[in-house]
């Protein structure tokens, strides 16, 4: 399909597992604008079994709202009026993402858990997959246990890696043998062959062809993910996964062949598109970004740090279908620590489990809302821990060491994401965009990521990051323009300290300078928060002079000054320490939480008193 050089109207859809979401964009007075949205139930399942019907219904809603004609009604099959014909008729571009049918589900296998299996996991996650399990020769499970896992799970694709090029190949062959005897069946179809991407030692390719019977497996050979121990190359495996996703997974989902004929560029898995947009933003602005997508079933975390992109998905951490699992994984006490109300433990559990079985309901009382926000904090916290686990330096690499490295030794084993150098945190997902007060989303993001120093926080207004991500493949500038102007709500800057003290102890003297003649000074004490209103179009210079126990990014006790931007919430001075100080004692904890909630004007006073 030929692309318009200067498009005027763009339609994008996301075919989600339950809802198909259409977003309509247009160029108005020289600027790109988000014009309207339409939503309709996804029609991938019986009785309709044709995704284009749900797409048609969602686009029809856009037509009704805007009066713009998009669908060509002369045809029984879904067709769009393309290109734009002038007036309110037609569009130039149509793009789509999809996570219908549960998205892309993969199984990853490697030789050494912390080397190839970990690299393979990064490749699968980067392609937008949910990783069902990671098998490795040294994962502590016997061969028959691995076989059982393979037989029980029904992955869409298997990614197999292991060994460096020219190195030992017996272990990767052993893993192939396990896969071959287990004969895992794919999710779709009785006769369909299971796709296997092989990204291991290239010398083992011929052996693998022999072991993995072509009657059962469709094997694709790509470049080794770890050609040498100190090199990780995930791109070829990631691309092969995306190709197979289109060929196998999408092709077996009803109606996708028709949808593929309509799009201006290939359909992308929703999380891959979401990641691409965040990556584009970070690259073009040359900043470090952390993003989180909170879904009903999963929580996706993205990071672009010093140019390195990583996406992880925590498959069973979410705010509706998976909300019970957040409770299970986090533990009730970790949920309760964010709730300063007189709610008994079993009441909190009932609210959470009743939400799980009726996931489309929304909180009607402030108590319910506060419970959901507590779960959200834990869900993001755990998903971010999972993310940091994979955001590590390559394992198995021998490093030359200097004296300074020895002092840094512990750190080198940890994540490369340095919270002091994160410039932006971006949140997306229903819970954040539906939060009645923006301060609530900002606080949820601060509490779960715990940034240090100066960090700007944003959230999406209407769910459209995946739409813009797939659009960025063909119109990067347009996607970025809409992303910054229409998609993101600037919440504000958080200024926070690392360190721990006693409640009430001085953390820093802070001067906020709005202009040469207008300034305010604050004394920030440990365990407190100060919210300063500063609108999104205003800036101020903030100078922090911390005591020796605290570090605002420049070092402990070191003065730091930065120009900051406001937002709909403003500037938040966070003196609660890092790791965030939450008292063990219930009474003290409640008192402190209420103080934070009030400082942030988080909820109506009636629920707090």
């Amino acid at each position: 399909m030929q692309l318009a050089r200067e498009p005027r109207y763009i339609l994008a859809t996301d075919v989600g597992s339950t809802t198909t979401k259409a977003r309509f964009f247009g160029k108005v007075n020289g600027e790109w604008r988000f014009l309207a949205s339409g939503e309709a139930p996804t029609t991938v399942e019986k009785p309709v079994e044709d995704v284009t019907k749900g797409v048609r219904n969602s686009v029809r809603e856009v037509e009704e709202l805007t009066g713009h004609r998009i669908i060509d009604y002369s045809s029984e099959e879904l067709r769009f009026i393309m290109p734009y014909l002038g007036g309110k008729t037609g569009i130039d571009v149509y793009v789509s993402t999809s996570s219908a049918g549960g998205g892309l589900q993969m199984l990853v296998a490697g030789v050494v858990k912390s080397i190839t299996a970990e690299s393979a996991q990064r490749a699968a996650l980067g392609a937008g997959a949910i990783v069902m399990d990671v098998l490795a020769i040294d994962d502590g499970r016997e061969a028959h246990e691995k076989i059982n896992i393979l037989r029980f799970l029904r992955p869409d694709i298997v990614l197999l890696a292991g060994g460096t090029d020219g190195g030992d190949k017996t272990h990767v062959i052993e893993m192939a043998e396990i896969i071959a005897v287990a004969k895992p069946r794919p999710r779709f179809g009785i006769t369909f062959r299971l796709p296997v991407v092989y990204a291991g030692n290239k010398d083992a390719r011929e052996d693998l062809r022999r072991i993995l019977n072509p009657d059962f497996f469709d094997v694709r050979m790509v470049d080794n993910i770890r050609p040498q121990i100190e090199i990780e190359r995930v791109e070829p495996a990631r691309n092969a996964i995306l190709e197979l996703f289109m060929e196998h997974v999408m092709a077996h989902a009803p109606g996708y062949e028709k949808l593929r004929k309509l799009v201006s560029t290939e359909i992308m898995p929703t999380p891959a598109a979401e990641g691409l947009m965040i990556r584009t933003f970070a690259e073009m602005r040359r900043v470090n970004v952390i993003g989180v997508g909170m879904g009903g079933a999963t929580t996706n975390v993205y990071s672009v740090f010093d140019g390195r992109f990583l996406r992880t998905v925590s498959a069973n951490l979410g705010m509706s279908y998976s909300i019970g699992n957040v409770l299970k994984e986090a533990g009730l006490e970790n949920i309760m620590r964010w709730i300063p109300l007189e709610l008994a433990e079993d009441e909190v559990m009932s609210i959470i489990y009743n939400k799980m079985i009726r996931p489309t309901t929304i909180p009607m009382t402030l108590e319910d809302l506060i419970v959901e926000h507590a779960v959200a904090r834990e869900s993001i916290r755990m998903a971010f821990n999972h993310h940091k686990y994979l955001a590590r330096e390559l394992k198995g690499v021998k490093r030359e060491r200097t004296i300074s490295d020895i002092f840094e030794e512990v750190k080198a084993e940890e994540t490369y994401i340095d919270m002091k150098r994160v410039d932006y945190i971006i949140g997306t997902g229903g819970l954040l965009s539906r939060a009645p007060r923006r301060a609530q989303s900002m606080m949820i993001l601060i509490d779960s990521f715990q940034p240090i120093g100066f960090t700007y926080i944003m959230q999406d207004s209407v769910f459209m990051i995946p739409h813009l991500g797939v659009l960025s493949k063909i119109y990067r500038e347009i996607a970025l323009e809409i992303f910054e102007k229409e998609c993101l709500v600037p919440l504000g800057t958080v200024v926070a300290a690392a360190g721990v003290g006693a409640v009430g102890e001085k953390v820093a003297d802070i001067v906020v300078e709005y202009s040469s003649s207008e300034k305010e000074t604050y004394e920030l004490s440990f365990g407190s928060i100060i919210r300063i209103p500063l609108s999104q179009h205003k800036e101020a210079t903030i100078t922090v002079n911390p005591t020796r126990k605290f570090d605002f990014g420049a070092g402990y006790g070191k003065k730091v000054s930065r120009r900051v931007r406001g937002g709909v919430v403003g500037v938040v001075l966070d003196g609660r320490g890092r790791p965030l100080y939450i008292p063990q004692n219930r009474g003290e904890r409640r008192k402190l939480l209420l103080q934070w909630f009030r400082s942030m004007d988080l909820y109506p006073e009636k629920v707090l008193s």
């Binding site: 062959i173 043998e177 069946r185 079985i357 929304i362 539906r434």
Partner: protein
């Protein structure tokens, strides 16, 4: 003010007469044992297949202490051979018999493969027969040879919100006199063994234990306290994908967690069908392609399947009867009096689409449309 609107949350299907079809599929290709038009009972075996046996990898090279490429010299079996547990697969003798090593088969099975690169043998156990039962009584409507059958029957049908335990069948037996009654342990008696017991608003932990001890087939009740349920299951629930629990019977909650009266309609369907043989299944999947637990009570009535409307969905209109499905009005039933078009702020300050409902006690409350389900139009 709009006249009607789709309910965001599809209601659970509850009816004393509908036409139920259930597709019964073999996990892999096999043999269908019934034919179109045949009458089947709950336990009729409608299909059979053989699941490939479990593979076992025997690391012969490592066990003999020889290089993989040498293993073939010591093998006592060939690909395709049948072997018994303890039978010798390979043996190695050196130094005039001073060193002897042997490798035995861990299972009965067939030698499926030998890998020269690793020196490993694969032994696969014999295929396991899987029998597929009808699950409901009815008529075989359609047969896909080797794969599946569709069985249909006129039936009363009740869906629950979440269940535990799989497919079973038994006679319906009410153990309480009202949908609001608590089902106590003493209400379950020895004669309930083999039956599907119907309770009211709550079953306690002791009730669940008693039901298990007595040997009921199923228990259907409005709610259970989440803490009691977890104590009974012995673990914390994670994701709402259920149906494989081994708890001795099948448990269905029609409303949710807590003390919640069973919907009057569901209770009256059970009352009407005391002593009817019914199928019960706790399998639940609260995600796309949602599966809810169910009780199917086959009946002999003659109905034209297509004359019955769809279940559990429909438009919400003025005068529709709805049930509120979230606190603080959870379980309350009322009549729709207004469907405002514009978004309204609720207590949480969220602007949402709302519906005004007159409750049975005369109060009119405003609730999010997402938080009601239609009981009848």
């Amino acid at each position: 003010m709009s006249e009607e609107s789709f309910a965001y949350t599809p209601g659970l299907a509850v009816t004393s007469l509908t036409y139920v079809r259930r597709e019964r599929s073999l996990p892999i290709k096999g043999e269908i044992l019934v034919s179109k038009g045949q009458e089947v009972d709950f336990d009729t075996i409608v299909g059979r297949c053989y699941l490939e046996g479990q593979p076992f990898i025997v690391k012969v090279a490592e066990l003999l202490g020889v290089e993989p490429e040498e293993v073939h010299r010591y093998l006592k079996v060939r690909v395709g051979d049948r072997v018994s547990r303890g039978g010798v697969l390979a043996s190695y003798t050196a130094f005039l018999g001073l060193i002897k090593r042997g490798v035995e088969s861990p299972v009965d099975g067939v030698v499926e493969a030998f890998n020269e690169l690793t020196g490993h043998l694969t032994i696969r156990t014999p295929p396991r027969p899987i029998e597929l039962r009808a699950y409901i009584g009815g008529i075989v409507e359609r047969v896909i040879p080797g794969e599946s059958v569709v069985i249909g029957t006129p039936a009363a049908f009740v869906q629950g919100i979440i269940g535990f335990g799989g497919e079973r069948h038994g006679k319906i037996e009410l153990a309480v006199s009202s949908n609001r009654d608590v089902l106590e342990a003493k209400d379950i008696e020895e004669y309930h063994a083999g039956k599907i017991v119907i309770g009211g608003s709550l079953a306690t932990y002791e009730t669940l234990e008693k039901a298990k001890r007595v040997g009921v087939v199923g228990l259907v009740v409005g709610g259970v306290k989440i803490t009691d349920l977890e104590r009974f299951l012995g673990y914390r629930i994670g994701v709402a994908i259920t149906g494989r629990e081994d708890i001795g019977f099948t448990l269905i909650l029609t409303e949710g967690f807590g003390k919640l009266p069973m919907s009057e309609k569901a209770f009256s369907v059970f009352e009407e069908h005391q002593n009817f043989e019914a199928a019960i299944n706790g399998a639940t999947q609260v995600r796309a392609g949602v599966i809810r637990p169910e009780v199917i009570i086959p009946k002999k009535e003659k109905v034209v399947p297509e004359s019955l409307g769809p279940l559990g969905e429909g438009r919400m209109k003025i005068d529709s009867i709805v049930r509120i499905i979230r606190y603080p009005y959870f379980g309350e039933i009322g009549t729709v009096v207004e469907l405002p078009v514009e978004l309204r702020k609720i207590e949480t300050e969220s602007p949402v689409r709302v519906v005004k409902v007159r409750l049975q006690d005369g109060r009119v409350v405003t609730v999010p449309r997402a938080n009601v389900e239609i009981i009848s139009e």
